[in-house]
């Protein structure tokens, strides 16, 4: 490339005057980078332009300067503030560290306490509810136990009485069986009879349940024929049921009678029979 004719073409001057197209400008920049002589020429032209402008011009008035800096003031806003005021916020920030932080700490502490309190309240509320549930269950259980105890106490007393009766009296045990009878082959009821005091006790061993319209009736069969001495509760098993007294008796029997019992036994419904 002919460097000299490139310089003489006047392209560099037009570059400095800003009269080249974008493409031409790129070319000048690239060429100047490639050839130091062209770069030097370009530098000289730019320098000459500045010197000429600087020498030939009159300075703008002070008015323009202040107007320009007034207009630019908002552009600078962030800068001078950062530089001049920045040291003071640091100092200010250090002093309040003492004054502000305790309050911060108190606030944090208070918040923590409040949170803990809320947590504890919820915890104990839950616990209270649980315990209350357990307590009422226990109370219920206790009532149940007390009732059971009462029942057992009554039972024990009654058993005591029966035991005393059995031990103090002179009872004969009479076995009544359904074996060989048409009603209930496996039925078994025991009668305890004191000949001298004529007292009769009864213990159900096996006896079928009845419908609500019928009852089991105990008969003492003597020389005068059968005498009804009470209704038998088939569900009260293995305990002594006190019956009416019976005098001279050869055998005991139970029949099924209409509710409340009959004056004469219905022998067709003879359930058990036991001879003395």
């Amino acid at each position: 490339m002919d460097i000299q004719s490139y310089i003489l073409s006047g392209k560099l001057e037009l570059f400095v005057l800003g009269e080249l197209t974008e493409r031409e400008r790129d070319e000048v920049v690239a060429t100047a980078k490639l050839y130091p002589k062209i770069q030097e020429e370009l530098d000289q032209i730019e320098e000459a332009m500045f010197n000429f402008d600087n020498l030939s011009g009159a300075a703008p008035s002070g008015m323009v300067r202040s107007k320009i800096f007034d207009s630019l003031e908002k552009d600078f806003v962030s800068q001078p503030q950062d530089k001049t005021i920045s040291p003071s916020p640091i100092q200010e920030a250090q002093t309040p560290v003492v004054a502000l932080n305790p309050w911060k700490n108190y606030t944090v502490a208070a918040s923590l306490v409040a949170l803990l309190a809320i947590g504890a309240a919820i915890f104990y509320a839950n616990k209270y509810s649980t315990v209350e549930g357990q307590f009422s269950a226990l109370v219920q259980q206790n009532i149940q136990l007390a009732e059971d105890l009462q029942t057992n106490h009554v039972k024990t007393e009654s058993l005591d009485t029966q035991m005393n009766q059995l031990l103090s009296g002179n009872f004969e045990r009479v076995f009544m069986k359904g074996e060989g009878l048409p009603m209930q082959g496996n039925a078994r009821v025991d009668v305890f009879w004191d000949r001298s005091s004529q007292e009769v006790l009864l213990s159900v061993n096996t006896l079928a349940a009845l419908d609500s319209e019928n009852d089991y009736q105990l008969w003492a069969i003597g020389a005068d024929g059968p005498v009804g001495i009470g209704i038998v509760n088939p569900n009260d098993k293995l305990s002594l049921q006190a019956m009416e007294n019976a005098g001279d008796t050869a055998a005991f029997a139970i029949t099924i009678e209409p509710k409340g019992g009959s004056l004469q036994p219905n022998l067709e419904k003879l359930v058990v029979l036991g001879e003395v």
């Binding site: 073409s9 001057e13 974008e22 320098e47 000429f52 402008d53 020498l55 030939s56 009159a58 320009i68």
Partner: protein
Amino acid sequence: MPFLKTNLLEEQEIIAGLIARDRKTVEYVYAKYSKALFGVISRIITDKDIAEEVFHDAFIKITRKIDSYDERKGRLYTWMSNICRNSSIDKTRSKEFSEKRKTNTIDDYVYGLESQSDTADVVDGIGVRELMDTLNEEQKFIVNCIYFKGYTHSEVSEEFDIPLGTVKSRIRAAINALKKKVDKI
């Protein structure tokens, strides 16, 4: 005074400062370049008030458009002076301005400077006259058109029927002559 060469590094700092919107940098740029830049404008625009108005707007544009500057636009001063030159040309071509037709000639300009009371300007004005005296008539004409009236080289070529290549070489010759003269001052 080869300030452009020695101050390449300084120029990078100035550009960085302008991009950072640093007040000190803008103050430095104003101190260093305002006279030359205002010279570019007031060569083209005679009316001092209008010239200062254009300078105000152009200088603010320079500080705000620094992001768009790159080496393809020349040195920092070249870019700044072209903003001022283009702003001035735009102004002379605006409707309000064209009615008055107030563009300069070399004589107007030098006369204008001499008539001002500021002695520093007068000294500079004498400098301009001296500078211009070194140019031949062809070169003076070109400088007058391009520097003082704000013509582009292709406009000169069209308006005065001078081949484009001739305009270019005359521009080169004129600037070369000024360059030599300036170096001597």
